[in-house]
């Protein structure tokens, strides 16, 4: 069964950002920095997590270009990186 990349990223973000289960504003489309779900340390940790979990090194420029920096965008980037390999 294919891995639900978005669900994996969401689980990490919920834990790192201490997001409550009933947060009405949180979803996979929100900008994680703009909405305060991740701080700068959290973004670095997410980058490291993606590299470890998916075996993908996403370059800094790609991260910086993500607008919004959402779970959907991160998941799409991971899927694209996988397809390319």
């Amino acid at each position: 069964m294919p891995q639900d990349v978005g669900a994996v990223v969401e689980k990490f973000v919920r834990s790192a950002g201490q997001v409550s289960d009933d947060d009405p504003h949180f979803d996979r489309r929100v900008d994680l920095i703009e909405m305060g779900y991740l701080d700068s340390v959290g973004v670095v940790e997410l980058l490291a997590y993606v590299a470890a979990e998916f075996g993908l090194g996403i370059d800094e420029e790609t991260w910086a270009m993500m607008d919004p920096l959402s779970i959907d965008q991160v998941a799409a980037t991971i899927r694209a990186g996988r397809d390319a390999t």
Binding site: M35, Y37, L38, D39, G42
Partner: protein
């Protein structure tokens, strides 16, 4: 430059001298009801969390945070306020400060311009005028009305073309009066009317340092719910009897959502910075909690009835640990506080709060001590 504030700084320094002399006196065994440092009836759950934090955290957890505080804790505070008061704050609207005093000082410095007039409802917390003057602002006193409630007509009449803001406290310090939803709505209407009349947005600074010290169970109405240009100032220290740890915040209402950068710059330029990393970790844990004040409520009801029976005129109130009482006819408040000190009760004269003729008791000790204090207050009345 500090000499410019001599007249505002000295009254408290003079009271501190009386306070020190009285505490050194061995004849009266003084009961100190002046400063609100509770020594009894405290909800200790936040303190217990603090103890656990010290054990749980490692050194990595105690590093620098941004000037407005860590992103996640700001979000946690915004979420807590949104849940309790049906607001829509974002993390950027909340700036963590080393106590409510820093929040007030930074607000005045960042959101107003030198020469602006600021209306301040009196009696008021002692150091608003000091902070306003240091920021080059002109304070216009607006005395409260009967029962020390908001005088909306007085506020309307005091508004002018140079008025840029209004300062109130909710509940009020030093009186403990909790402004009702209707009064807060009325205040918002007055501000709106003045904004239209003079073509200038008005910022309402709502000092809510005692917001979570409501002992009669009534709900708190927040000015931010009805006036978008409101800054709410809060103190976790006051709520949880950890005043010395200096942790609080200011929250910007939706009408001020473009001023967060100004506030963060003011934090930086004044050198206040955010609360310590340790206290920010504590806020992360307690942001949703509400302290319990059952024993304070019991003491408030008891001493208010006791003093009224003795003949004192006690201002009715609903919040804070304070009891605000009129001095006997013809007796100056400073003179009466000296008389009380001679009998072994330390209280604060209302002149410190920019109103003559009253004194303030802080219920910060045990019931047996309050019983003795009440007996001494009887003697003061009969002298």
């Amino acid at each position: 430059m500090w000499a410019d504030t001599d007249d505002l700084a000295k009254p408290l320094e003079e009271f501190a001298a009386l306070h020190g002399r009285t505490l050194r006196s061995s004849s009266t065994k003084p009961i100190d009801l002046s400063y609100p440092n509770p020594r009894a009836g405290r909800d200790d759950r936040a303190f217990t969390q603090l103890r656990e934090l010290v054990r749980d955290l490692d050194q990595d957890d105690l590093q620098y945070t941004p000037f407005g505080g860590g992103t996640l804790v700001r979000r946690r505070v915004a979420e807590a306020m949104n849940r309790r008061y049906a607001l829509r704050l974002r993390h950027r609207d909340v700036v963590l400060t080393p106590g409510a005093t820093a929040a007030l000082s930074v607000t005045f410095a960042a959101l107003f311009r030198p020469g602006d007039e600021i209306l301040v409802v009196t009696p008021c917390w002692m150091d608003y005028p000091l902070y306003l003057r240091r920021s080059g602002l002109t304070m216009v006193e607006v005395p409260s009305g009967p029962g020390k409630r908001l005088d909306l007509d007085g506020l309307r009449a005091a508004c002018g073309p140079r008025t840029a803001g209004v300062v109130i406290s909710q509940p009020a310090c030093p009186t403990g009066v909790l402004h009702s939803a209707a009064e807060i709505r009325g205040l918002a209407d007055v501000l709106h009317e003045c904004e239209r009349r003079f073509g200038r947005a008005l910022t309402l600074v709502s000092d809510e340092a005692h917001r979570d010290v409501i002992w009669d169970g009534r709900p708190v109405s927040l000015p931010m719910q009805v006036h978008p240009g409101t800054v709410s100032v809060y103190s976790y220290g006051k709520a949880w009897s950890l005043q010395g740890q200096r942790v609080g915040y200011l929250a910007l209402g939706p009408g001020l959502d473009d001023r967060a950068t100004d506030i963060e710059r003011a934090m930086r330029s004044t050198g206040f910075a955010a609360p310590t990393a340790l206290m920010q970790h504590l806020v992360m844990r307690i942001a949703d909690w509400e302290p319990q004040h059952e024993s304070l409520g019991d003491d408030q009801r008891w001493i208010r009835a006791r003093l009224s029976d003795a003949g004192y005129d006690v201002v009715p109130a609903q919040g804070t640990a304070f009891v605000y009482v009129r001095c006997p006819e013809g007796v100056d408040d400073t003179e009466f506080v000296r008389r009380l000190a001679g009998l072994g009760v330390l209280a604060m004269p209302s002149s410190l709060f920019h109103e003559p003729g009253y004194f303030r008791l802080a219920l910060n000790t045990t019931r047996p001590q309050l019983v003795v204090a009440a007996q001494r207050l009887d003697q003061a009345l009969n002298r």
